[in-house]
Symmetry: C2
Subunit: 350 residues, 2 copies
């Protein structure tokens, strides 16, 4: 198939820094090419890809000091896509919604949008009441719930190439890991308390965004002086395998409707189980007692953590390979593409 | 002609509060109808209009506490417009640029966009390099300068109905007026100093936006205790005639590239001359020695202010009626509409 992947321009594909959407677009693009498809990637010019790159801007918007407003570039990318549109069988958008009027005007069967963010904003209700025929893909079933009447054609869980986070059979295992942003949604405070109750060390690899700096100083920094806590700041992609692979478990005590949660499958790829709060996508990603535990309280989490060594790391990795590989993700998308082109998009309930 | 006016949804048309664009769309719409055209107005549902109202949302977004993000509604309005598009001869956009790909896809001659804001953001350069065939109208010649290669088809100065700001032949004239936002761009500090040097009282009718609160407290509040200064806060539309009409002059000592500056023609409508800084649209609006004075320094402004009584108020009002009436504005737009439909848009240089 001739496929266009339309990525955000904020980060390059893959991103140089943080950027979950751009990473997934990269993995999907490379895997589709490996499977023999002809892929064009609409993305920033500093992207690295085997696809034909159609660059709207020379570099990722977030890294360009001259850029003040992202929206003009999104509009420009949309126009470039519109001009090429009829040379593709499939156009796969990874932006949220600005493209919908143009997409509808194209009158093509093979257009689909993956929603990468949370959908519980009231402003989306009105928009998708109109665009109730625009095929959408969710990244977890839970993500779909706020928009039941949208045209959902499937959930496709994110996937990673097998080698991104290497399997660690024999971890040092003398700590638990917290990886992500320091934010009230991610609840690093819960993670610190869980580790304390379980008598474990915790290593926190996390960036602090400007928006969360007050939260960090007021709520988290005072907790970091405890002897069981080690705060190591932001880490790069290449350090993740070592960081996650050597942990006894990943703690994911979130307090928001997480649409997916990439870090859970990164840990699974390393063979590291995850102890996660029952929220958002978590019950879809974690298999209770196999790849981790799903909990509702700090006490329960600490209790599970004390016995997490009973979970077999090789099984965790197997489950990753079965359910969360990039190859599986690409195959799922190809199946959706084929259904769209056959005009059988198989609309599903939210 | 069958004309669609596409207004922003942030305020109603006309706006209940501040909103220059929505006021102009309202004046233009009513005047086009008065001149016999069939007008549809795409705007928020709480707009008051003689046109057919096509409402995307029940009320102005800025007044709706459930609204967090304006962009989904802009996209939705664009889709509504797209569906009706071919029932119109003319589609006149007053939003900035999000509509451009859809507008181009319609393949219609009669589409035009009035740019209401400043255009010197670098992000616009890239966008309008692509959309160099989208007919644009500027609200002053100066506004066009940052985008010389865009498809400018005319400058149409804003206009007001004659009765909005009534002519005051015999003003009290014992003060000068400052009307606008308290912001570094509007330079109320300069206005206060000009009045002091000229030995005049100044009345400041101005709102303080949250974004400018620090500036107000640090830079302006300390100046308000001077005996010649009276700060009266924000005033409504119905108070403007009295406030501007009784002033000896309006002070407009701006420090930014003002695209138009409605308050100058509001003052002119009252017969009140304006002393304004040489910036942005000012030299196009003010006729030196006739409707006001254009200055470059506080000393010069104070000197002019001492002699501003020499300008004839009836002449100021005459100039307003000739150059800045709603009827003239509508006639200018109709001329542009006709040229577009005749495919002779008469592209002009920036």
């Amino acid at each position: 198939m001739k496929i266009a992947q339309v990525a955000p321009l904020i980060e390059s594909v893959p991103p140089r820094l943080y950027g979950g959407t751009e990473r997934i677009v990269s993995y999907l693009t490379e895997e589709l090419i490996r499977q023999g498809h002809e892929v064009s990637l609409f993305a920033s010019g500093d992207s690295r890809t085997s696809a034909r790159l159609i660059a709207t801007v020379p570099k990722a918007l977030r890294l360009d000091p001259n850029v003040r407003d992202y929206l003009p570039y999104t509009v420009l990318q949309l126009e470039q896509l519109r001009q090429y549109a009829h040379t593709f069988d499939i156009i796969h958008f990874h932006g949220d919604y600005v493209h919908l009027p143009v997409a509808r005007s194209l009158g093509m069967k093979g257009i689909v949008t993956t929603m990468h963010g949370r959908l519980d904003l009231p402003d989306y209700q009105t928009l998708f009441a109109e665009f109730d025929d625009a095929p959408l893909v969710s990244i977890s079933d839970h993500q779909r719930l706020p928009l039941p009447s949208a045209c959902w054609v499937g959930t496709v869980y994110h996937g990673l190439p097998a080698e991104v986070c290497a399997f660690t059979e024999q971890p040092r295992g003398d700590y638990v890991a917290f990886l992500g942003r320091i934010s009230p949604e991610k609840r690093p405070d819960r993670a610190i308390e869980i580790a304390r109750q379980a008598g474990m060390r915790i290593k926190i690899a996390a960036k602090v965004d400007d928006a969360d700096r007050a939260y960090f100083h007021e709520r988290i920094e005072p907790l970091l002086s405890q002897p069981h806590v080690e705060f190591i700041g932001e880490i790069g992609e290449h350090q993740k395998s070592e960081f996650l692979g050597n942990a006894a478990a990943l703690l994911f005590p979130i307090d928001w409707p997480e649409p997916f949660g990439l870090v859970m499958i990164e840990a699974m790829s390393c063979g590291t189980p995850c102890i996660a709060w029952r929220a958002g996508s978590v019950p879809e990603i974690i298999e209770e007692g196999v790849t981790g535990y799903i909990v509702d309280s700090i006490d329960a989490a600490a209790e599970r953590l004390r016995h997490v060594g009973m979970l077999k790391r090789s099984t965790v990795r197997e489950k990753f390979e079965q359910r969360f590989s990039a190859a599986r993700m690409a195959a799922d998308y190809v199946q959706i593409y084929r259904r769209l082109l056959a005009s059988q998009p198989n609309r599903i309930a939210a």
